[in-house]
Structures are given as structure tokens and as C-alpha cells.
């Protein structure tokens, strides 16, 4: 009897995991005992972190996407369809096309969806860079503004100790924005205000979701004339008055509002009824070590869909993927999981248009900030322009 492993999601987590599963289980696959399917609702694979660069006119759409099938090993069956329902108890997927797929093992890597409509007025008056079209729209604004006030804010999920998408991105874009406006020669006429909400995972009234990094930020921002403000949790936006209103009762005017929006899981995950997350955010209850969906031994969750206190970013997937592959192999070969995720995430933060800072952290140790360097910047650019695709192919 052939065992079927299905990976749902054509983002970086799903793509690298499908490729890594073929490597790990090649003996079984070549004997015809195991087959691997990857299901995605898009024929394209997007390098999502590059949307941030689109907002600064530094990346074209054609440069940040590849045909999904071209990134998969030939042993993987690629299915272009959308999951409508996860029937975890029956180990079955119901698809938009009407098809059903039964599985022996499932990897859920369906990402998250930016949802600015969840804050009153934000959809109409706010901007963000977490998707291509909004990032293009933001570029049109910041490349033409001559004077005024750019207000930057961050929205965290309501689920306790769960981060927003890519924790470092708001800080990165603030520093890039400062440099971008200086190059345009309009920085003196534009006020940049960086704000952070009162509750950000386990820290309170800080400028970043990890205390040590939050403590070095004021001097970095001061040196660039960036105004910084704690405890501004966006409650609503008045598009007519161009005012952001906080839960703390303050009002701030803006000419451009760059707000990291609320996020939620995809519809099929929300509809599964398994999530216990508040505010209908849909994060799946995930074992922090084995990465199994709680109550379902044959289902694994990774990337943005988990309810763990770990960055919703590709750097998390990169470390979760080998754990999941090892655990599926362990269950198939030895009847038990063998690997544990330690919460490791690594990345190179873009600390300006040309400099970068390599960073890493895990469940126990936070990021230790280091000075940004040009070599760090080259590492990040090299990753953006080439190494990423090797990561997706499971080569790095």
C-alpha cells in the first residue's frame, strides 16, 4: 500500500518541505512505497520578502516569482487546486474543484493573509508592503511625497504571544524609508514617526518584540532623526481627517500611514474548526517541539499557520522543515517522532538600503544586536537575488 504525504501550500515552507521529503524518503519513493503531493492554489511561487523592496522601487514582479512546478523535484506531484476543507479526523482534503484527497501524512503550510479590513478605516487610508499590489501603491506614494508626515505602526494578533508577519520588517522599512527619502532630497520636509503597540508578545511598552533589540533602537532612530513612540495600538483610522486613533486614546495625523496589518489564517484553516485562537485568527494549535497538530499525530504545521511565539517568516520554515521531514520519516520507519524544533530562526535584517545585520534566535535566546555592515547588506542582497531559490529547492 502506497503511503501518501500531502503538503498544502506553495510558499517557501511547503516548497522546501516537499523537496526535503523526497530527499529524506528517497529510498521508499524509488521503491514506489511513498508518494509526495504538493497542493497550491497558485501556479506561481512568490519570494514574499521582496514585496518590501517593491515598496522602494527596487524589485520587479518578474524578478521575485518563478513557476511553482520549476522549483519542485520531479518525484513530486504538483496539484493546482485550493483546499476548501481540512477534514483532519478523516485524514481527507476537500478541494475547490470537487476532488478529494486522502492522506497518510499531511503538512499544513498555508501561510497567513494580511487583513487590513479588520481595523476600521485602515483598508481605505492605510498602506502596507506585505503583498505585491499594496507595495506598488506604497511606492507610488513614497516616491512622490514632497513634505508631510509618514506614520508607521504595527498590529499584533490578538492571540497571546503570537507575532505579526516578519517581526523585523517594520524596523527594516523605517530605516530604508529614511534613506530613500534622503536620496530623493526631501527628508528634511518629511517627518517619520515609528510607533509600536503597548502589547507586543511578552514585552510591554517597548519599540520591538524583543527587549534587547528594543533597547538599542532609540539611539539608532535618534541618529537618523526618526521620531519613535511607544504604546500606540491602532484601534481605527479616520480616512477623511487622515488620523490614526489608538486604543490608548491618542490621535495622530498622517499623510502616509504604513501599518503592519492584522493577519489571519486562510479560510480552509479557519473553517476546520480546530483552532482555539481568539478573534477568529485561526492559528493551529501546534506542538512546539514535534510541530504536530495537537490531537493529530499524522498532521504537521509550519510557518505562519502555527500558534507558536516564533517569527512568521521564511527563516522559521527553514528550521522547521528538517524537523517535520525527520518526524514523518521517524513515524513511517520507527513508529515515533525523532526530532524536536528548538525555535531557531535566522535572517539577515536590512538596516538601510545597503547595510545588513545577520541575526538568529530561538525559544530560549533572543537576538543579540550587532552593528549593521556592508557585508551584511551584500549577504541579504545575495540571498534576495539568488540563494533564496536554492533554499526553495531544498539545496541550502
Amino acid at each position: 500500500m502506497i503511503k501518501t504525504i500531502i503538503v498544502v501550500g506553495g510558499g517557501i515552507g511547503g516548497t522546501m518541505t516537499a523537496n526535503n521529503l523526497v530527499s529524506k524518503l528517497y529510498a521508499e519513493i524509488s521503491r514506489g512505497e511513498v508518494r509526495v503531493l504538493l497542493i497550491s492554489n497558485s501556479p506561481w511561487h512568490y519570494y514574499k520578502p521582496a514585496f518590501m523592496y517593491v515598496a522602494f522601487g527596487a524589485f520587479y514582479k518578474e524578478e521575485l516569482r518563478r513557476h511553482q512546478a520549476s522549483l519542485l523535484r520531479p518525484e513530486i506531484d504538483f496539484v493546482l487546486d485550493q483546499v476548501d476543507n481540512f477534514e483532519f479526523k478523516q485524514s481527507r482534503l476537500r478541494m475547490r474543484s470537487g476532488a478529494t484527497y486522502d492522506y497518510d501524512y499531511l503538512v499544513v503550510s498555508t501561510g497567513c493573509i494580511p487583513s487590513p479590513e479588520r481595523i476600521e478605516g485602515l483598508q481605505e487610508a492605510g498602506d502596507h508592503f506585505y503583498q505585491h499590489d499594496p507595495a506598488r501603491k506604497l511606492y507610488e506614494k513614497i516616491s512622490t511625497i514632497e513634505k508631510g508626515r509618514i506614520f508607521i505602526g504595527v498590529t499584533f494578533p490578538k492571540t497571546p504571544n503570537v507575532p505579526h508577519q516578519c517581526g523585523i520588517a517594520p524596523m527594516e522599512t523605517t530605516l530604508m524609508l529614511d534613506e530613500f527619502l534622503r536620496k530623493r532630497g526631501v527628508r528634511d520636509q518629511i517627518e517619520i514617526v515609528y510607533t509600536y503597540p503597548t502589547i507586543s508578545q511578552l514585552v510591554r511598552n517597548c519599540l520591538f518584540l524583543q527587549k534587547q533589540t528594543g533597547e538599542v533602537l532609540p539611539s539608532v532612530f535618534d541618529s537618523k532623526g526618526i521620531i519613535h513612540k511607544r504604546s500606540f495600538t491602532l484601534a481605527s483610522v479616520d480616512p477623511e481627517r487622515k488620523v490614526a486613533i489608538s486604543e490608548e486614546g491618542e490621535e495622530e495625523n498622517f499623510d502616509i500611514l504604513i501599518q503592519t496589518p492584522p493577519i489571519r489564517a486562510v479560510d480552509a484553516v479557519l473553517n476546520s474548526g480546530v483552532s482555539q485562537a481568539p478573534n477568529n485568527e485561526g492559528w493551529l494549535p501546534t506542538d512546539r517541539y514535534s510541530l504536530q497538530l495537537e490531537g493529530f499525530e499524522n498532521v504537521f504545521v509550519m510557518g505562519d499557520t502555527v500558534d507558536l511565539p516564533i517569527s512568521k517568516a521564511g527563516g522559521s520554515c527553514h528550521n522547521q522543515s528538517p524537523v517535520i521531514c525527520n518526524n514523518i520519516a521517524g513515524l513511517m520507519r520507527w513508529g515515533k517522532t525523532v526530532a524536536e524544533y528548538d525555535g531557531k530562526v535566522q535572517a539577515v535584517a536590512q538596516m538601510g538600503m545597503d547595510v545588513g545585520m545577520p541575526l538568529w534566535y530561538d525559544y530560549d535566546v533572543d537576538v543579540i544586536p550587532t552593528p549593521a555592515t556592508k557585508i551584511g547588506g551584500l549577504m541579504r542582497k545575495g540571498f534576495n537575488r539568488g540563494v533564496y531559490w536554492s533554499v526553495a529547492r531544498g539545496l541550502v
Binding site: R73, K381, G386, R393
Partner: protein
């Protein structure tokens, strides 16, 4: 150019070192002493200069690398890695399929398979196009060029 008294300059160096708290640490001093032992022959033979020159050249390359150069280098990287990956995938997958048959197909069966399999025909077309392109480039190389 002025020459300082060696005694004065040593004293100045000592004063400078006194200002660095890290150098008052015993482990740091022991580590530095070990390092100096290793470096001494390189310094004496002027061979450390090459390492410094190498560092300077590396640093120059980093300074000179701009967005355009980096994009070209990474495109080369991706095309190379992606190309090798595609070819090795095809080779491994095709070998595994061939090995799965206990008896290889007859020539007639192979031809029939070619005829029925669109991907196989397309693959043959790719090979044919590659050969045509190689031929075109060979023809260019073989052309007699007029003198300027």
C-alpha cells in the same frame, strides 16, 4: 618626515595599551602572546604583508560591489545551480524509471513510447534545438572574417 625616539614611541604604545580595559584581562594577554608567537615569523619574513594585501583586496571588492554587479553575479549563480539541479533531477528520475522495469523495452516499444508521450517528444525537440544552436555557433566560429 620626522622620526620619533623609539623609547618615546614605546612609552606611547604602553600608554595606549593601558587605556584598553580588555588588555588588562589575563586571558586576553595570554591569547595575544600566543598569537604574537605565531605571527612573529610572518612579520619577520614580511609574509604577513601578503595577508594584509589580501584583506585589502577583499575589502576593495566589497566596496566596489554595487547592486548591478551583485544582480549579475547572483543571476549567474541561479542559472548555474538551477541548470545543474534540473539536469541531475532529470537524470536521477529517468534512471529510476528505467531501473524499475525488470526488462528494458524493445526498440519498437521505445519508439512507440516516444510517439505516444508528448513530454518525450518535447524533450527530443529540446535536444534537437540544442544541437541546432551548437551548430549555429560552430558555423559562426568557422566563418572567415574580413580584415578591418
Amino acid at each position: 618626515m620626522t622620526h620619533q625616539n623609539p623609547e618615546t614611541s614605546t612609552q606611547t604604545l604602553e600608554q595606549l595599551l593601558e587605556c584598553l580595559p580588555a588588555l588588562k584581562n589575563e586571558a586576553t594577554q595570554a591569547g595575544l602572546a600566543d598569537l604574537l608567537d605565531k605571527l612573529a615569523p610572518l612579520l619577520q619574513g614580511r609574509r604577513l604583508h601578503n595577508i594584509v594585501d589580501l584583506l585589502a583586496a577583499t575589502s576593495d571588492v566589497i566596496e566596489m560591489t554595487d547592486d548591478a554587479m551583485l544582480q549579475k553575479l547572483m543571476a549567474l549563480y541561479e542559472e548555474s545551480i538551477g541548470g545543474v539541479w534540473m539536469l541531475t533531477n532529470a537524470l536521477r528520475y529517468a534512471s529510476a524509471q528505467a531501473a524499475a522495469n525488470s526488462t528494458p523495452p524493445t526498440l519498437w516499444q521505445s519508439v512507440k513510447k516516444f510517439n505516444q508521450n508528448e513530454d518525450a517528444r518535447r524533450g527530443l525537440d529540446v535536444v534537437s534545438n540544442i544541437l541546432a544552436e551548437l551548430g549555429r555557433q560552430s558555423a559562426i566560429k568557422g566563418q572567415k572574417m574580413p580584415e578591418d
